[in-house]
């Protein structure tokens, strides 16, 4: 599994993701945001962090990086799987590759917890660490999400005020997965949970690799 880890100025979960993927036997490679080629990759990952320092809004300026045009091509051609984790999910929404938007947590606080979520009919535990993780959209968009070919991943306990407890969205047709929790932080032996592998196994399964 060849995975491109796309790095923006301010990304800070790139190394965690790299180490986690190496640990499960994938072939990760860093791709700087100014680059324009994702050919040969099975997976494109937008990792967590603070791309462009979260200036203007979280994920806003990253959507204008050259690699985003190539990512759109990667998605349109159905070349592989796209995963956006935390800030990566924010970038996917800002770029309109997934619907809705992520805004300030209802509590106004930065939340750092081991979150329980429901994924594929089981409860898994993944760390969350965000201030702008409250998923928001209007009623029409929510209906569209529910009716469309899209999976909703939900928190068991709604930590941040997200509409319908949403912590992740998966567009089945184009294999675009946005997730606020951090699966890469629940892989290595020292982590408090090893459930992160469930997410990466899911990706592998969807690609039939």
């Amino acid at each position: 599994m060849k995975a491109a880890i796309i790095v923006f100025p301010g990304t800070n979960c790139d190394k965690d993701t790299y180490k986690a993927l190496k640990h499960i036997g994938w072939e990760p490679q860093y791709v700087w945001h100014n680059e324009t080629d994702l050919k040969g990759f099975d997976v494109a990952i937008l990792p967590g962090g603070f791309s462009y320092g979260d200036y203007i809004r979280a994920g806003r300026l990253a959507k204008f990086s050259p690699i985003l045009e190539e990512l759109k091509r990667f998605i349109k051609d159905k070349q592989g799987f796209t995963l956006g984790i935390c800030n990566g999910f924010q970038i996917l929404c800002e770029s309109k590759l997934l619907p809705g938007a992520l805004t300030y947590n209802k509590s106004g606080r930065f939340i750092c917890e081991d979150a329980q979520l429901s994924f594929k009919n089981r409860t898994i535990t993944l760390p969350i660490a965000h201030k702008e993780g409250c998923f928001t959209c209007d009623d029409n968009t929510l209906e569209t999400i529910k009716n469309r070919d899209m999976d909703i991943i939900k928190y068991i306990t709604n930590y941040n005020g997200s509409i319908s407890d949403i912590c992740g969205l998966y567009n089945k047709e184009f294999k675009i997965f946005g997730l606020m929790p951090h699966p890469e932080r629940a892989i290595l032996p020292h982590a408090s949970s090893n459930d992160g592998k469930t997410i990466f196994d899911f990706i592998k399964e969807k690609l039939n690799v």
Binding site: R57, F64, C93, E94, Y104, G108, D138
Partner: protein, 84 residues
């Protein structure tokens, strides 16, 4: 032609303004008599080159819509366009 532009971006009324709510809590704690309708936003000043005022307006509208705001959450207002 050169224009100076002033733009504000703030959350839509339908989106809860957490920063405004927090500021309200702090002001109340300091005995300031204030209504809870506090809106926190961002202010931008920029200079733009364009062949005419209408061209400048179109370009500014595009900048505000695409770069400075997210229509899911935010609204923007062009406060002023000054020809320099």
């Amino acid at each position: 032609m050169k224009f100076k532009v002033k733009i504000i971006v703030k959350l839509k009324d339908s989106i809860k303004d957490i920063q405004g709510k927090t500021l309200h809590t702090v002001l109340k704690r300091n005995d300031i008599d204030i209504n809870d309708t506090i809106n926190v936003g961002k202010y931008f000043e920029l200079e733009i080159n364009a062949p005419c005022i209408d061209c400048a307006k179109n370009e500014i509208d595009n900048i505000a819509r695409e770069y400075l705001s997210n229509p899911v959450l935010e609204q923007f207002k062009i406060l002023e366009i000054l020809e320099l």
